[in-house]
């Protein structure tokens, strides 16, 4: 695996197709071809060079664009399969059996197979992750393998190329010109107007512009790698918080996942569009669909534990009042709290009358706040009601006692002691919804009068330290694709050969028509030989000879 020495004296690495300096074809393939392959400037891609060890073989595998495209295709197909049926995280189930049952019930045998093959959790499956990992590896290796030789050969290129290089370009022209010196001078001037960088050496011009666009692919690949790194970092504790919590109106609660912060729900609002405000514009649509939600909103107050205070202490300071609506999360210290869900109408207060049974006369009323009941309710006029028992989610009598199955006031029940001037020793009564129990016949009773409800906000708490890394990745990617795709690397070679003929050749990595447009303009101001585009047999040759420019 020795270097290849070109006739011009330059030593090229093994595998080089075109001499890095003068462009002479070196390989048999290049010598035989009519138009040389200018990808990577005919430089030696490292992967083509060595394949002695197993490491080299793996390396070469990932370096191949064919493999790269195959991996892209595999990710694409896997992603598509994942959208056939809903993914795991959109399915209301928790256990494996429930998942299986869900897919089987809705999608039959195909659904069952979908579950069994693991497609129901496609994007978290080990093989999907391996595919993405291989894609990342391929991006890195293929880029390294190409960018270095390309850089070297663009740096080493010489102004004067060997005629065999010129003749093998896609755009090439040759002819005798009356005054070559003048032609070259004029061409140089015109090319400068086109913003080309000119290199001139005795009787040869190399005009080049937008070489930086050649680095575009490598820049955008770097962006993708940065993005991948960001995604990986989310797995590290502390980089990423994703929690949900229910917060009742009036409730103040520690924010899950955000240590030291407490949130109070001052009220949840659900608004629909009304006919009046929506005017005639939305009228037709509202008639069809019924109602459309206008706003979900939770009014909150954020508190922060004071510096030095311990978790749990009441030593809080108010940070701010805020209305969380969809698209406008509450943000603080890297955290965001989103309005995600809601539940309406949970019981919040119950109002009762104390009545004398026989006369049905009310001695007054009292309201029990179910989230913060009191021990004693003073009705004035010497009557009080004591709370002896409170069962927010009453579920029958267990072991001789009323039993509450949860702390949520779904079905509140109470034991009240009614103290009245008549019965100062008090009477006891058990009150549940639609039910009253008394140990012995009482003279007084607590009668339900009214209830009030409250709403519950479903909030999501997020913190993602990797967002800026991801954003940077996206930005670098965009710079890379714009640099690589919105500019073209163009080169024009003009030189006088040993027989006094003028040779012209041109190359661009894309958009040949635009390059030809430029060449045609160039030929208007400098006497240069006509050229041919050897990949466009349909090109009307007459037009090029003419004065009129067809492309503008």
């Amino acid at each position: 695996m020795s270097n290849i020495k070109c006739q011009c004296g330059h030593e090229n690495p093994f595998g080089t197709e075109l001499c890095e300096k003068c462009g002479r074809p070196l390989s048999e393939k290049a010598k035989k071809s009519d138009i040389v392959d200018m990808r990577y400037e005919g430089s030696s891609r490292r992967s083509q060079t060595y394949s002695s060890s197993i490491i080299d073989k793996i390396w070469n595998f990932f370096s191949s664009v064919k493999i790269g495209v195959s991996i892209i295709a595999a990710v694409l197909i896997a992603s598509a399969i994942g959208t056939i049926f809903p993914q795991k995280f959109y399915v209301p189930a928790t256990t494996d059996a429930e998942y299986l049952a869900y897919y089987e019930r809705l999608y039959g045998t195909v659904g069952k197979l979908y579950y069994q093959l693991g497609f129901y959790d496609m994007y978290n499956s080990w093989w999907f992750k391996i595919l993405v990992g291989m894609l990342g590896t391929s991006i890195i290796i293929a880029s390294i393998d190409r960018v270095i030789p390309l850089y070297k050969s663009l740096k080493k290129q010489r102004t004067r190329r060997h005629p065999s290089f010129m003749k093998r370009q896609r755009i090439f022209g040759e002819g005798e010109i009356v005054n070559t010196k003048e032609s070259l001078d004029n061409a140089e001037k015109k090319l400068k107007d086109f913003h080309y960088n000119i290199k001139r050496e005795d009787g040869a011009i190399l005009a080049e512009k937008h070489r930086f666009s050649r680095w575009g692919p490598y820049v955008n690949h770097t962006g993708l790698i940065i993005f991948f790194i960001g995604v990986l970092l989310r797995g590290i504790p502390g980089f990423y918080v994703d929690e949900t919590m229910w917060l009742r109106e009036g409730e103040t609660r520690n924010i899950i996942g955000a240590d030291g912060y407490v949130l109070e729900n001052r009220g949840f609002i659900l608004e629909n569009y009304t006919k009046e405000e929506a005017e005639e514009v939305f009228g037709a649509a509202l008639d069809k669909v019924g109602s459309v939600v206008k706003n979900y909103q939770t009014d909150v107050t954020l508190y922060k534990k004071k510096d030095g205070a311990l978790p749990g202490s009441d030593d809080l300071e108010k940070m701010k009042d805020y209305s969380i609506v969809v698209n406008k999360p509450l943000t603080f210290n890297g955290y965001s709290v989103f309005q995600m869900d809601y539940k309406l109408n949970e019981l919040s207060t119950m109002t009762f009358h104390l009545v004398e049974k026989t006369t049905e006369k009310s001695l007054g009323e009292f309201t029990v706040n179910l989230s913060n009941p009191e021990k004693e309710y003073d009705l004035g006029n010497g009557s009080t009601v004591d709370m002896l028992g409170f069962y927010p989610d009453y579920d029958g009598i267990k072991d001789g006692e009323p039993y509450s199955k949860s702390p949520i006031p779904n079905n509140p029940a109470f034991i009240f002691q009614m103290n009245t001037p008549d019965k100062p020793e008090g009477e006891k009564s058990f009150i549940a919804i639609q039910q009253t129990l008394e140990v012995e016949e009482n003279d007084y009773a607590v009668k339900f009068a009214a209830a009030d409800t409250r709403n519950i906000s479903g909030l999501t708490i997020r913190k993602d330290k990797t967002l800026y890394i991801l954003l940077l990745g996206g930005l670098v990617f965009m710079i890379g694709v714009i640099q690589g795709m919105y500019w073209q690397h163009r080169r024009i070679w003009i030189q006088e050969d040993s027989e006094g003929h003028l040779l012209i050749a041109a190359h661009t990595n894309k958009n040949w028509f635009s390059l030809r447009k430029e060449l045609d303009k160039l030929r208007e101001s400098a006497d240069l030989p006509a050229y041919i585009d050897r990949q466009d047999p349909e090109l009307d040759k007459l037009e090029q000879e003419g004065d009129e420019n067809i492309w503008t």
Partner: protein
């Protein structure tokens, strides 16, 4: 020639290192689950400050050098209720031996807890975590959950179920200062 061999060797090292890194990343991505920092046995018990029903503030750090039997509970939870009388029975004895029983109610209305206490005749400190801060701090999922904290302030055991009288005694003894 030596230079060439060297170059070849460097290339092999570079390629090997890069491929190993990529393989490691893939393995890491597959094996890592969404990690939440959960307290585990052996961790230092995080300090907190809560008031009990009588309005007295308790800090975990107040009990440095003594054992703490930290019990999270709710009134609606039958196993919580069941173990309370045993804790009441042993509370005084063990307090003298340098082991404290602290119970934390997970944010129920104060009156509800008071009714419960009076009903059961309990006298040990009942801390009230009204904002559920300490509950979140200790990642409480099932109730009851009990943390055994030794005199050095380390969590030596987390019990995520109800306990019998003997178990409670055993656990209390295990965090007794020597």
């Amino acid at each position: 020639m030596a230079k060439k061999v060297n170059k070849k060797k460097n290339r092999l090292i570079f390629r090997t290192v890069l491929l190993v890194i990529m393989a490691a990343i893939i393995v890491y991505a597959i094996t890592s689950k969404d990690k939440v920092t959960v307290l585990a046995e052996g961790d230092k018990a995080p300090d907190f400050e809560l008031v009990d029903l009588d309005g007295n503030a308790h800090r975990l750090s107040d009990y440095k050098g003594e054992g703490v039997f930290l019990n999270f509970w709710g009134t609606w939870c039958p196993p919580c209720k069941k173990e309370m009388p045993h804790m009441e029975d042993m509370y005084k004895d063990f307090e003298a031996k340098g082991v404290n029983i602290l119970t934390v109610n997970v944010g129920e209305p104060k009156v509800k807890i008071e009714l419960f206490r009076d009903d059961m005749g309990l006298s040990f400190p009942m801390l009230w975590d009204k904002n559920k801060t300490v509950m979140d701090l200790y990642n409480i999922k099932p109730l009851p959950t009990t943390f055994l904290i030794n005199p050095e302030g380390k969590i030596i055991k987390i019990i995520k179920q109800g306990m019998t009288e003997e178990q409670i005694r055993e656990f209390l003894e295990s965090i007794q200062p020597k």
